[in-house]
Symmetry: none
Subunit: 208 residues, 4 copies
DNA sequence: TATGAATGAGTCTTCATTCAT
DNA sequence: GATGAATGAAGACTCATTCAT
């Protein structure tokens, strides 16, 4: 009766494979028609299996959204992790790092736009997901704030910037762009926006 | 079929008042529980009227969303109109104008956060509303691009900026901030973010 | 509260005129879209008046159907009355009378097919109307039985016919034809069917 | 969309049984209270099941009417098929065949009067069913016309009959009788009418 | 483990009817 | 007399969820 995510089988068995498949199918359907317009039957149909299979692996519809979002988030974070480097010592390194990060994210989202579509939708479902969204935003902003702070210390960032507020504004940029272009992303135009953003931000915070 | 938006009464009569009331109630419900979670009965209950009254004034649920969104948009545009000024001749004027615009919008959204909540939701309903959203974004971006172009001509904006891409990035900022803070907006922190954004952008595009 | 068909005004006043108009409009709508698919609003729209006017003149939707049917029936009976003649003395006179009757009815129905459409529908509404329909049928059959009986006495109808059963069968013919051709009646083909029927019946009952 | 008449099970499984039961229940309800007065809930209540079960097996209310009508038609045609014989060579054989046919149909309808009630109703639902009704009528009439034509060739039918028109008139007879007596059929009186009809028609077309 | 039959709560929508003006 | 605003009962239909097999 209680299904806490793992049925009887252990996490590495075949069951986990099925779970992945379901999440994949759900991601596809949610992204294509939206969470509210997607029924369990839609997901099952894409899997080519009966719809009650779903309930062996997930509590309910809401439950799987949670998992799908986490899944998508994990993939995004993996992209971010690839790009992280050591400490940033100059505005050129900052610019360089930002561009690599931005372009890499862009590539990821262009490759699988469903992730982007999903994230935008998730906030309309309930407060808990909104909280989750906010947490991610705040983590991103905090990380950026750290960088800016060390930039101030290192002297390549203006000391008079409002660190937290500026970090928020910067993190907001890819988010807003995703809202506008996320549904049918084209790499080239988006890459141009990334470069423009990097330019804007670098000059905006640079100490002179 | 029989109700094309306006019943028999003319636009200035009492009927129009009821329409406004319904729109107001729908805005409240949509913002509070989300479009998909709101039923016609919810709206009617808030009005204290029978649910069929709704259908005298609006075609269906989708129809009223359209109207509510237009309503909200109109209010937002009214705010923007108040701030618009003549030509901008220097980076200081640019900074000044941006700040007035941002703070004014912030005030509007803080006063009635439901507008912001609604706009974010609307895109999850159907493609038509997504298009509408994109159109608004593009209009904002185009207006800003015009300003930047004239700034280049006037010499206070660097001539090497990618005008369109930069305009998009800048418009994305308030959008992203709204996604993060729109649901429970607090004027002061948001105002700080506006100022930080203005600072970032002004320095980012300024010719030196 | 009780509306027994006549409001306060007397039957010859203007009120009666409005009643006729409503009945006419209802007949048109019922015939065009069917009783169940017709709403009071449809009728009012055709009249170009408010829908509550209806309730000044008729109890409810069911009530007006009753009236419309009676109206249609009265028109049909008027047609029949025109054709009735004195006693029928020979098979030629029988044939002649039948043909005049049949063609006259055909002409009436072709002129206003709505009557025919209505009568066919009425039976699907409730038992009372079915009873009414049966009564009409029986009256027709009884009248025809009288004629046949006098024909037997006069010697031009075979004495071995089952009078009642045969009368029923004969009355059934126009009814069945109406079911098939009543909705879009064309005079010529229907006239041919009338003539064929008269021929069939006359020869069928004729004494030799 | 997902239910095209047959769910996943194949036609021979238990599912087909349930379908039959639903059709039977719908036939009963439609006949008893009329198509328009019958709700899906009525049908489900008769089945003793939830109303949504219905939608697993049929698209919608209109859909099941179609099926019920086809079901009824099939039973009727089965009756007709039993009676069909080889070529008819004389007026006596014609009379004989007609009587067997008529009595057989009468027996069928008396046994399950709901079929008759249903067929009469179906035409009030929509144009498509009216077309279907007309097609049946025309098929019957065409078959009868063939018989009459071969009767003319064989010499036992008067050569001066208007074949098509007469066939229509004859087919109209059972139809009209059904309209009058179909709702509460009694075998004996109906059999008398069949015999009278056969008598009338045989003498009416017989060559002398 | 997997299936699909069954259910009932919930949603949108229509429409006959009433009532204040 | 006439209007149209308002209502509530009722109906079609969907879908998440459960359960027996």
């Amino acid at each position: 009766m209680q299904c806490d995510g793992n049925p009887t089988f252990d996490d590495t068995g075949e069951g986990e494979l099925v779970r992945e498949e379901i999440i994949e199918a759900a991601l596809a359907e949610f992204a294509e028609r939206g969470y509210h317009q997607t029924s369990i039957t839609h997901i099952a149909a894409r899997l080519g299996s009966g719809h009650s299979l779903f309930y062996r692996y997930f509590e309910n519809k809401r439950d799987i959204l949670q998992h799908v979002v986490e899944h998508a988030m994990a993939r995004t974070l993996a992209t971010l992790a690839e790009v992280s480097t050591g400490p940033i010592a100059s505005i050129e390194e900052f610019r360089d790092f930002s561009e690599r990060l931005g372009l890499s994210l862009t590539a990821t989202f262009c490759e699988d736009p469903r992730i982007s579509q999903l994230l935008l939708q998730s906030a309309t479902v309930d407060d808990e997901l909104v909280q989750q969204f906010n947490t991610i935003f705040d983590m991103g902003s905090a990380a950026l704030a750290d960088i800016l702070r060390s930039g101030v210390e290192a002297g390549y960032v203006r000391p008079d910037v409002d660190i937290e507020a500026t970090a928020d504004s910067i993190v907001a940029i890819p988010l807003g762009l995703q809202a506008r272009y996320g549904l049918q992303p084209d790499y080239e135009p988006l890459a141009a926006r990334v470069r423009a953003t990097v330019d804007l931000v670098s000059r905006g915070v640079e100490a002179r």
